[in-house]
Amino acid sequence: MPRTAIVAALLALLCAAAAPAHAAPVDDALAHFTADKFPETDRGIDELVASGAPTAPAVLGALGDGRLLFDPGSHRVYYAEASGALDDAATGARADGVAQGALKKVRLNNGIRSKLAAALGGLDLLSPDRAKRLAAADTAFHTPDPKSLAAIDAALGRETDPAAKAALLQARAAVVATSGAGPEADRLGAIATLTARGDGDALNYVNQAAAAPDASPAVKNAASAAASSIRFTLSLWQALQNAWYGLSLGSVLLLAAIGLAITFGVMGVINMAHGEMVMIGAYTTYLLQDLVAAHAPAWSEASLPIAVPAAFLVAGAIGVGIERTVIRFLYGRPLETLLATWGVSLILQQAVRTAFGPDNRPVSAPRFMAGSFHLGGLEITAGRMWIVVFTLAVFAALQVVLRATPFGLRMRAVTQNRRMASAMGISTGRIDALAFGLGSGIAGIAGVALSQIDNVSPNLGQSYIIDSFMVVVFGGVGNLWGTLVAALGLGIADKFLEPFAGAVLAKIAILVFIVLFIQKRPRGLFALKGRAVEA
């Protein structure tokens, strides 16, 4: 039984809400679920829907969520409520005293899931919940079937909400355009509606409308005009979309590099352990999330925001520790910091591996960072958007610290001339430790954000260290604005190249570009000029 037929059947069921229940067919239908075979389950859904049993929506919902259970012995079917209590699938009555352990779950696969979605979606077309109706209309749009036309029209007749109505109209247009049937005016109208929608699906449907065997010349012309118009719009949106991807990649690069812009760019330490600070930030996030989940589950949505200061402190403290025990003996010998911090990075990696194991740690996304939304033809994923915002905020905060606080001034003085700074009464040791701590702390913060998009594993840092150095140097060492522009610029360039060249060649092209660019500007993008630099 095709999916749309179920929709129709369910609609009928719903409209004739008070149809008398037939006990026997329900039991027969449910029996299919106990066979533990997908084709049987499939048949069970059809029969259950056809039976018009009042428990059908509940049973189907439970099936979709993996809450539908059966007893292999007695062949009875139950569904679990959210509370864990069991109901009998046939009657809906509470089934107490059934041993949960003996029950098996009715298994699902994607075919069944789609079927369920359509079945439940069909129900949703008339749901009192606006969001459900919108979602159902969207489903209908994406799976156009001539047989669902009646249901859509019925729903259109009742719909009062403008957005839902528009969605239904689009769904209807999709059906009409793809069906290759219907009066010319109807088809032209559908093409117009689809043109207005203007996305890839619309283009696809418009093309199908043009290809329909009985399409009139008018329809064909309209469709091809629509197709080229949609294609043009799409290409504009695509460019914007690429720019957004680039911006988001760039902000990840920036976030990873910005701590290095302090420890390396400002302090001159070739900090190979920078990546490990990022990693430590990510592990802090993981630990904190676990802690919150264990001790204050109500706060679990907030664990990520809490992780920001926590990661800053943890990574910052470790940074201060490294500075005090190792780096501080190496000022004036920056090349040796390469050797020492490489050693430190090996130690930190292995320490984390020993403590947490070599495998990835799961960090889940809070709700506000999950999913995506549309902005015109742009699809923006919430997580990426927050990372962009967060990165820019970190950047701004850092600029303020460096430019507008005595600490920033002293830090720059110390790194430019340590001996003289000391003679000016600046406690160089303290400034060094704090500066290294700041850089490390910011790396830690980067780890919080990266835990959302990458592996939280002992290798996390290694995958960012090269890119980070590349960005800092490309932007011009010590120039924070340069780091910003370099990161965003490289991100955007990469994302514009990727569609043509593929990810690998795009990356090679970027590297070659950097090499060539440095020939033109041997001191990076935002090189300082003049005596001050050579002095």
């Binding site: 050693g343 140097v473 070659v512 033109k520 050579e534």
Partner: protein, 383 residues
């Protein structure tokens, strides 16, 4: 002033040890019975042979870094290119003995549906050609890359990072099967070199001896270069590049020449390395490998040629030993070693030796690795 003692006592000892090893080690491995106290196992011979190749790589790096201030973070690229040249020769020697018994194409080309040998492979069935390429390809890359970079006056970290970008780009490129170099798997399963089975003890001993000689030769060349007036100029460039220009020296020529020479040495090291380890693949281009090479030099003593070689052997020996003896903790040990060396042996191991013997002679400046670090690191600029 002019440093007439090209080698110095330390260099002579180094050369003597190498040449003795070239003669004695193969003898011990081939002529003494396996149980004997004098016997060196093939395992040990191969292992040390590999270290010697690393030592030559380190030497080449010290030449540019220690004596000319060019911190090349892409030295591994030259090494790998030399290795590929040799690997291609070895692949061609397999002939029809590959899995698919194709007389013209290496196995990986057969299963990737190549129909004929790409032009890049022409000529590699000839050993002299392969050796020439092992020198010429890294050399030419360094020449072109160096000429443009040095002419544009790219210095310090900027140069370091573009050399890193170079090796990283090559890594990605060689990963691609389209390049026709075996992709990620690289070249392996070699059979013959110059008609001898690469796996036989005799060939291994010969390869070992060749590595010793190559390292000795590399040292002689490097010492001659650094001991000449040319070497003094490069040290001057390292310390005050623009001042050298005002004396009328064409800095970019000097740098390009050392860089090219060093790349060729690295290429030679790679070419000797491949038949001894039996595989060459893009992993050798990994930026981390080049950084490790820098670390060997730093551990041994930057600006002391012997130290660089020593550092390479020691660090790699440590790695071999630790990964076997403490597989779960070796990174702590190696990492700790690096930290301790930096803190307590700022001039590397040979720096320590120098310090202990400093009272005897002031030492020629070229042998003193203290350099104003500004040469490599631009003065930090705060925004």
């Amino acid at each position: 002033m002019q440093n007439h003692r090209t080698f110095g006592p330390r260099g002579l000892v180094f050369l003597a040890v190498l040449l003795a090893a070239a003669a004695l080690v193969p003898a011990s491995s081939l002529l003494t019975p396996a149980g004997s106290a004098l016997h060196l196992s093939t395992y040990a011979v191969t292992l040390v042979g590999k270290y010697l190749c690393y030592a030559l790589l380190a030497l080449s790096l010290d030449l540019v870094w220690g004596y000319c201030g060019i911190l090349c973070l892409g030295q591994g690229a030259f090494f790998a290119l030399g290795g590929y040249a040799m690997g291609m020769y070895l692949m061609r020697q397999i002939g029809a003995r590959g899995s698919y018994a194709n007389p013209d194409l290496p196995d990986f080309m057969v299963f990737l549906n190549y129909h004929s040998l790409p032009w890049t492979w022409w000529g590699f069935s000839s050993f002299p050609y392969a050796v020439l390429m092992a020198l010429a390809v890294p050399g030419a890359l360094a020449l072109v890359f160096g000429y443009f970079a040095f002419r544009s006056r790219v210095t310090g970290v900027y140069l370091s990072i573009i050399t890193q970008a170079l090796t990283y780009a090559l890594l990605l490129a060689f990963f691609r099967n389209e390049m026709g170099f075996g992709g990620n798997n690289g070249l392996t399963d070699f059979k013959d070199i110059l008609g001898h089975d690469v796996r036989s003890d005799g060939t291994r001993a010969a390869l070992f001896a060749t590595s010793c000689v190559a390292l000795a030769l590399g040292y002689v060349v490097a010492a001659a270069v650094t001991g000449s007036k040319f070497g003094q100029v490069t040290v001057a460039i390292r310390d005050a590049e623009s001042r050298v220009r005002f004396l009328g020296y064409r800095v970019e020529h000097y740098k390009t020449l050392v860089f090219t020479l060093s790349a060729m040495m690295a290429g030679m090291a790679g070419a000797l390395y491949v038949p001894q380890v039996g595989i060459i693949n893009p992993g050798e281009f990994a930026p981390a490998n080049s950084i490790e090479a820098v670390i060997w030099v730093a551990v041994g003593g930057r600006g002391t040629l012997v130290g660089a070689a020593l550092g390479a052997v020691l660090v790699n020996w440590g790695k071999t030993y630790f990964t076997g003896a403490f597989p779960e903790y070796w990174l702590f040990l190696l990492g700790g070693l690096f930290v301790l060396v930096t803190l307590f042996l700022p001039q590397g191991i040979l720096g320590l030796v120098d310090r202990l013997t400093a009272r005897r002679r002031p030492g020629p400046p070229a042998e003193r690795p203290v350099a104003p670090e500004e040469q490599v690191l631009p003065r930090p600029v705060a925004e």
